[in-house]
């Protein structure tokens, strides 16, 4: 089988899983939908490996394969079809997406066990993975946009999964609206490219783009900026990041899926995929790099004060994606994608650990209420700590190699890119600090009642309530069931977290500077045409960066240890001393408030004005009311004849016939 056949299989399995569960949920008993979904993704993962092996058999020049299932539209030289592009980049993404998604599905089989919407959940989950795979395998802009929009729709369905929860529904709408802003950007970019290049297929566009555009031509810069709008909306970068923390309203494995495998990595993939265009528009690429850098600092500072366990991880995702966006915008493509991979491992792991802790807390997500889970949940503790170490870039873990490779590229580019690199190290310090703030606050300290209860062998139970508002919840429809699951007691959760913990450590060993560089070598054919990407930092410089990064990470962890374990109470003193800084960070730099004042409230006011004045008075009153009034008046005579009495009709008939007869009789004589 060729790589493209494997590519179609990668798409077919999750789609089949979605359809089987969606149409067969009535007859599928118990946990069967979960296992169907999990095996569908596993088969997709195996197909990705098949595609990988097939690509490796080919010579480097022949590793870009395009296959069209059918053509939608064909006019003149222009055609659009259901077309997939199988090349090292898409196969790499397929492996990461399907591999990590498989483990998240496996985790969900147990974690969602008591939920009322078990089958619905897995149908959505499979659809989500299918959409993401469609996005990364797309061979032209149309399929890309379809996958892009599917991912947005699937995220909406999953964020609002517990649809009786007001906050969850609002979060789903927010995510969807911001994603649609991104979709519009992507569509405009595709239009600009079609208008100038005359094709929507990736390979012809990339090969001929430099014939149509001069470097930094205003059209290509605008097209790339529109691509960035799309990428930033999906990847939750400044200023379109506000949906991601709210997306924590969904079930925890969904957060893992959104953050690790699907969705937020789509923006990074998009920039890497469109690199021939971005290299023609350095201005747009620089804007992307600066915004990525700003995002990683912003999210890092907010993560210092957020107390919701899942939201801390959410802000850390925004921050880590900032590194990736900065990397791929600076032509550090393989480094950015390498970080994408390692981030997928440790972020999925962190969310799974958080899900386990939340299960032990009976649904409570507030870190202020947690503490001392170390003894009660040894497995969760170890895996979570590994995830946190990898995220903090502790020497020897995967995050250490991948993050510092991006920063090494920044220093290698020199000039003001070096400033971004320095800021990246500041962000790394923040990352290390807040990562261990989480670990120390959740697992160390005095054991909370829930932890004590778990130690005595019993999972705590609480009344179902909304973790954001504390409102009691209706458990009849669309809500998590009364059961809670922790990794220590559910083997599928353990089986999912174990491999991820391993990968979070060893995942970085595929690209040790000076030793091996598997990812970059594999992706080489995709980025071979990019002169910037060839300018790699020297091994010595990379090792220097690794040493600095490792030192910063250890200092950050040490500071967290000092503040939270050695001298507890330091944070309270800091808050007392700098209340304004704390308030500023707690309100997430007032982004939500600003958007509320700038966009939401004016639109809501305009909307209610429209409903009150335009709709009620003008449309209903004047136009519709006027038209019906005219008709009513002009037909009043005709309506008066229609009395509804049978004999009146008979009389009219008789009079009519008699009248006609008389008329003809008189005329004929």
């Amino acid at each position: 089988m060729s790589a493209t056949s494997y590519g179609w299989l990668v798409l077919a399995f999750p789609l089949a899983g979605t359809l089987i569960i969606a149409f067969g949920w009535r007859v599928l008993p118990g946990r069967v939908p979960g296992w169907i979904a999990t095996s569908a993704i596993f088969l997709a993962f195996l197909s990705s490996i098949g595609a990988l092996l097939d690509l490796l058999d080919r010579s480097e020049e022949e590793r870009q394969l395009v296959d069209t299932a059918w053509t939608y539209a064909s006019t003149g030289n222009f055609k659009v079809g259901l077309e997939i592009l199988v090349d090292p980049l898409s196969v790499f993404m397929c492996l990461v997406v399907s591999g990590v998604s498989f483990l998240i599905h496996l985790y969900s089989v147990a974690y969602m066990g008591g939920d009322r919407g078990y089958a619905r959940y897995f149908a959505y989950l499979n659809f989500f993975v299918f959409s993401m795979l469609l996005l990364v395998l797309a061979g032209n802009f149309v399929i890309l946009i379809i996958g892009w929009a599917f991912v947005g729709a699937a995220s909406y369905l999953l964020i609002s999964f517990w649809y009786r929860r007001q906050t969850a529904v609002a979060a789903g709408i927010k995510a969807f609206v911001i994603n649609v802003i991104g979709d519009v950007g992507l569509v405009i970019a595709a239009f600009l490219i079609l208008d100038n290049v005359g094709s929507l297929d990736f390979l012809p566009v990339f090969q001929t783009a430099h014939d149509h555009f001069a470097t930094n031509d205003s059209t290509i810069v605008w097209a790339c900026l529109m691509l960035l709008v799309g990428a930033f909306a999906k990847s939750a970068q400044l200023p379109l990041h506000t949906w991601l923390p709210d997306a924590m309203e969904g079930p925890t494995p969904v957060s893992a899926l959104i953050h690790a495998a699907t969705m937020v990595t789509a923006g990074v993939y998009l920039i890497a995929r469109m690199h021939p265009l971005f290299e023609l528009a350095p201005t747009a690429a620089d804007i992307g790099a600066i915004l990525g850098c700003a995002t990683l600092l912003f999210a890092g500072t907010v993560a210092l004060v957020v107390t919701d366990l899942k939201r801390v991880i959410a802000y850390s995702t925004i921050s880590q994606i900032g590194y990736m966006v900065m990397g791929v915008s600076m032509a550090a493509y393989s480094a950015g994608l390498f970080h994408l991979m390692t981030h997928a491992f440790f972020k999925a792991l962190l969310f799974m650990g958080a899900g386990s802790v939340i299960g032990a807390m009976a649904g409570i997500q507030d870190m202020d209420r947690m503490g001392g889970f170390r003894r009660a949940m040894p497995f969760t503790f170890v895996t979570f700590a590994i995830g946190a170490l990898a995220r903090a870039g502790f020497p020897g873990t995967s995050g250490w190699f991948s993050k510092d490779e991006i920063l090494a590229f920044a220093f290698n580019r020199g000039g003001w890119y070096a400033v971004l690199g320095v800021l990246g190290y500041v962000g790394a310090f923040l990352t290390a600090f807040y990562s261990f703030r989480m670990v120390f606050r959740v697992f160390y300290g005095n054991a909370v009642p829930e932890a004590v209860e778990l130690e005595s062998g019993h999972v705590a139970h609480g009344e179902p309530m909304n973790p954001m508002t504390g409102e009691p919840e209706d458990t009849d429809v669309g809500f998590p069931g009364p059961e809670h699951h922790v990794a220590e007691r559910a083997w599928p959760m353990k089986a999912a977290m174990g491999p991820l913990a391993l990968l979070a450590i060893v995942g970085g060993y595929v690209a040790i500077p000076g030793v091996d560089n598997v990812i970059a070598n594999f992706l080489e054919p995709v980025f071979a045409d990019s002169p910037l990407a060839q300018d790699e930092p020297s091994t010595g410089a990379e090792w220097l960066g690794l040493v600095i990064g490792g030192a910063i990470s250890i200092v950050g962890i040490g500071l967290a240890w000092t503040i939270y374990l050695r001298r507890p109470g330091t944070t309270a003193r800091l808050v007392e001393r700098y209340p304004w800084a704390h308030r500023f960070l707690e309100h997430k730099w007032y982004f939500d408030e600003a958007y509320g004042a700038l966009f939401v409230r004016p639109f809501a006011t305009f909307g209610s004005f429209g409903r009150r004045v335009i709709e009620t008075d003008f449309v209903q009153g004047t136009i519709v009311g006027g038209a019906t009034g005219v008709v009513r008046v002009s037909t009043s005579f005709a309506r008066a004849i229609q009395t509804g009495y049978l004999r009146a009709y008979a009389l009219l008939l008789l009079v009519g016939v008699a009248g006609l007869t008389l008329y003809f009789l008189i005329n004929s004589s």
């Binding site: 309506r639 008066a640 009395t643 509804g644 009495y645 049978l646 004999r647 008979a650």
Partner: protein, 99 residues
């Protein structure tokens, strides 16, 4: 006998039928009056047929009888349906077609 007498009789019967249809509210009586009107027509047809010496008018009369039978079946069916639905047996009550 002259044909005129038959036609006058026919016209009288037809007028009785019309006045019944227009003035009565009981659907059974309305149906009876419709029958009267049809049979007045029959009488005129047969009278003309005899005057002209052809059979066409008599054949028409037979066809009208068949049609009348069909019409009575449907009409009585409607009345039975009204009764079953506990509607008043009064055609003035059935005035939903009012504009």
């Amino acid at each position: 006998m002259e044909t005129t007498w038959y036609l006058v009789l026919s016209a009288f019967i037809f007028a009785i039928g019309v006045s019944g249809v227009i003035s009565r509210r009981n659907p059974l009586v309305v149906l009876l009056c419709l029958e009267l009107m049809l049979n007045a027509g029959n009488l005129a047809l047969v009278a003309f047929s005899r005057m002209h010496g052809g059979e066409a008018g008599q054949v028409f009369a037979l066809i009208v009888m068949v049609i009348a039978a069909c019409e009575v079946v449907i009409g009585l069916g409607i009345i039975v349906a009204m009764y079953r639905n506990r509607l008043p047996i009064d055609i003035d009550e059935m005035s939903e077609l009012r504009g």
